[in-house]
Every structure is written in structure tokens, then in C-alpha cells.
Symmetry: C2
Subunit: 253 residues, 2 copies
């Protein structure tokens, strides 16, 4: 008896970017260390707090709250706020205006995971590959040039009018609409369970990518496929693995 | 004495697509001939009327009029209308529903001009290259895969909320906004004088590309640069020529 693959009919992949495609934690920590001016603090912890502030703000905006619609502005506001905190008093004044501007642009210069570029080129041959990120278009375009990410289409929260992952149709369904595809012919690819859960609530298929520094707090590392009793369609450890299993997952097995 | 190049500071190019990047007239005529079922009419004239109907509809929508927001729907409606006209009675019933659907998708399969792909790869190394087309995202993504067009970003009228070229800020300034660039750091590239005139009215720089089958009706083939007494910034005959002259045009001469 034949059974359909879990991604049967899928014609486009939407990729979460920060954490899934690029290793923001490593890249930002490295940039901070290079600009440390000899100050010895836990730069990795600072990078994580910067990222956390961004997550909180985008989720608030996605839920209808107040906040800037541009990720650069957001990253700058969060940086400025962190630098006023007692906890980070050792670095409150080490950077001038130009250096802070440049530091915000470090988010445009993030590096991919080791499998990212090779995997995306292989996937691009099979279907349409798109970002679906909260980053702004310019940031995603700069990052793509820098890290060699051959996107077919850059979709961003700003372009589509909101942020993910809360249950906001503007992002997930907006991307499907512009691809002229029903949601079940589109799969969301992310290293974050909550992003996939939101995508699935709108009928998209889901691909979970295990990344060592992502989904650690929420203890989602045990995310399983439906076949294994979980609730995502496919689980992989890399984009190259996804490119290998995809043909089978898209067709009748 | 040094003088600034006409595209000084430009960091991104926005490309008109139909006619400028792809040779729609040749591609559509060829597809129609291949599906002619032996009927001998002036297929090139039919292709031109199909295109003309599209131009009229998008301009009407851009000016605030009624009309579909999806180019596929538009192409289908115009095709259906043409097939009811006495003038085209010889072909009124030669295609069934599936064949008409496939014919509409011919607009996704347009071929580039001989210089298109080589020129775009060379330009992509120098700055951000984007579409700014009235085509929908899916059509532009399919076309890019088919004709090997390595866009950094696909901007479409549908994505930005309107159509060009009438003086509608949503398209030209919308693209600049998402690139976080002031309009004078963005150049519009088109084989249509009116598109450039509209772009210039919002402060964008302009590159006119001479294409043999475009701008013939409006007798714009004599379009000149400001230096030559005209009103565009640069005039070229191909994207490869643009890639060669661009470094000088972007910097102090």
C-alpha cells in the first residue's frame, strides 16, 4: 500500500532566518568581542540579551502592541537600553555614535551554519526558497550577499505588515498568497517549535531543523514528527539533509 | 576639476522587467505560434494586443481605478476579452480551459535579452539588484528561475500595494523605504521613458536601456542623458554595458 509523503505537493519553502539559517549567536558574540576595547565581560550573555530584547519587541508588535516597524531601529533601541543597565555598566560608554551604528549593522553580517549555503543551493533546484523573517528587506538582502544565500524571494515581516510567530495571518498566509499557493503547498522551515506551531495553525506544512543554540530555553530539542508521535511534518539536522529527504517527502512513497 | 558621476552614491538598482529584462514580445509570439493549431493569423499582433490590454489595465488600477490585483487574473481576463472580438474570430474557440491556463503562464516563462543574465550577475557584484515590476511575486520568481535572473530582492506592484508608472509613491518610494535608502541612492532601470520619468519625479536616479521592440510607439528611442540635453542620467544598450560604465557613474570622475 502506498502512502503520501508528509510534504506531498509542497512547491515552496519559507525559512525562518535568525537561528535557522544564520548562527546569530556566534556571529554577534564574535563581533562584540572584536569591539570589546579590552573590556572583559560575558559577551555571549550580552549577545543573548540583545537578541532576547528583540524577540520580546517583535512579539509585542505582532500581537498589536506599540513598537518600531524596522529591525535596525529596534536593535538600536534595545542596545541603547541595555547600555543604561547597571549590569552592563562596564560597557556603558565604550562606543561612540558611529561604533554603535556599525554594531547594529552586525545583524546584517551574520554567518550561515556550515550546511546553510550548500543546502539552499540544492533546495533551490527543487522548489521556490524564500525567507519569512522579521528582519527588514535590506538586512536580509545584505545578509544574503554576505553569507551567499540564494533566495528566490525575500519575504519580511515589514513587507507583509506584521511579525511572526504569534497567530498573525499577515505573515504566513501573506507569503502563500504572493506565491499563489494554497497553504498546504507551502512548508515553513524553522529551528523554533513555536514558529512552526503558528505556521501549522494556518495550514502550512512544517520542517523542524535542529540547531545547537536554538530552542534550548523552551526545551524543544525533543521535537518529533507526527509519525513519531509529535506534531511537525519533518525533522532534520541540516539543510543538506532536507535537500536529500525532500524528494521522497514531496511525492508518494 | 573633478565632477560627480551621474549615479553617484547609488547603492541599488530597480529593474522594470517586461521589455527591459525579458523580451516578452518574442517569447509570447513564439508560444502563441507553437499553440496556433495551424491557424495562420498575425500572432505577433495578437501578442501586442494582449500586452496592450495589460498596460491599460495596470495604469487604470495605478490611477485608482477598478481592476484585479493579480497579473495572472489580468492576463486571463484580457485573453478572454480578445477572443470575443470579431477581429480574432479565427481563434475564438481553438483553446480549451487547460490550454488557456497554460497560455497565461507563458508570461512566467519569458526569456531574457542576450545580455540580461551576464549583465545582472556582473551588476549584482557591485550593488543590490531588484525587480520593480507590476508582475506578481510568483510570476517574477518563476521567470527568474527559468531565465536565470539572480535578483537580490523581488519587489512587485502587488507586494507594494499599487502599479507603476503613474505618479504613485507606493511603488518607487516603497522599494526605497524597504531598502532603507534615500531615493537618490536608488536608480530605476527601464526601457520605457515614462517609467523613468515617474521614478525621477520621486527623486530616483534613472538608467534608460534601449531595447529594439520597446518605446517604439511613443517614439522615445531618442531618449538622451542630461549631459546630452535630455533628462535621464544614463543611457545604455545593454546590462553588460551598464555593468561596465557603472563604477565610473557611481563615483567622482
Amino acid at each position: 500500500m502506498s502512502s503520501a509523503g508528509p510534504l506531498e505537493g509542497v512547491e515552496a519553502l519559507l525559512f525562518d532566518v535568525f537561528g535557522t539559517v544564520v548562527n546569530w549567536e556566534h556571529s554577534i558574540t564574535r563581533e562584540l568581542q572584536a569591539k570589546s576595547k579590552g573590556v572583559d565581560i560575558d559577551w555571549n550573555a550580552f549577545a543573548k540579551e540583545w537578541r532576547k530584547g528583540y524577540m520580546i519587541t517583535t512579539r509585542s508588535v505582532a500581537a498589536g502592541g506599540e513598537g518600531p516597524s524596522n529591525v535596525d531601529v529596534m536593535h538600536r533601541e534595545i542596545l541603547d537600553r541595555l547600555l543604561t543597565e547597571t549590569k552592563w555598566s562596564a560597557i556603558s560608554n565604550i562606543w561612540n555614535e558611529d561604533e554603535k551604528k556599525d554594531l547594529v549593522l552586525a545583524w546584517h553580517r551574520l554567518s550561515g551554519w556550515p550546511d546553510t549555503t550548500e543546502g539552499l543551493y540544492a533546495l533551490k533546484k527543487q522548489l521556490i526558497i524564500c525567507t519569512l523573517s522579521n528582519g527588514n528587506v535590506r538586512l536580509l538582502a545584505d545578509m544574503a550577499k554576505n553569507a551567499d544565500l540564494p533566495w528566490d524571494v525575500i519575504f519580511s515581516g515589514e513587507l507583509l505588515g506584521s511579525y511572526k510567530p504569534p497567530r498573525n495571518p499577515k505573515t504566513y498566509l501573506g507569503a502563500a498568497y504572493h506565491l499563489t499557493l494554497p497553504p498546504n503547498k507551502v512548508a515553513m522551515v524553522a529551528a523554533h517549535y513555536l514558529d512552526l506551531k503558528a505556521a501549522a495553525s494556518f495550514g502550512l506544512k512544517t520542517v523542524y531543523v535542529r540547531r545547537p543554540t536554538e530552542d534550548t530555553v523552551e526545551e524543544r530539542t525533543g521535537t518529533k514528527t507526527k509519525k513519531e508521535g509529535g506534531d511537525v511534518d519533518v525533522v532534520v539536522d541540516s539543510f543538506t539533509e532536507l535537500a536529500e529527504v525532500l524528494p521522497k517527502a514531496r511525492s508518494l512513497a
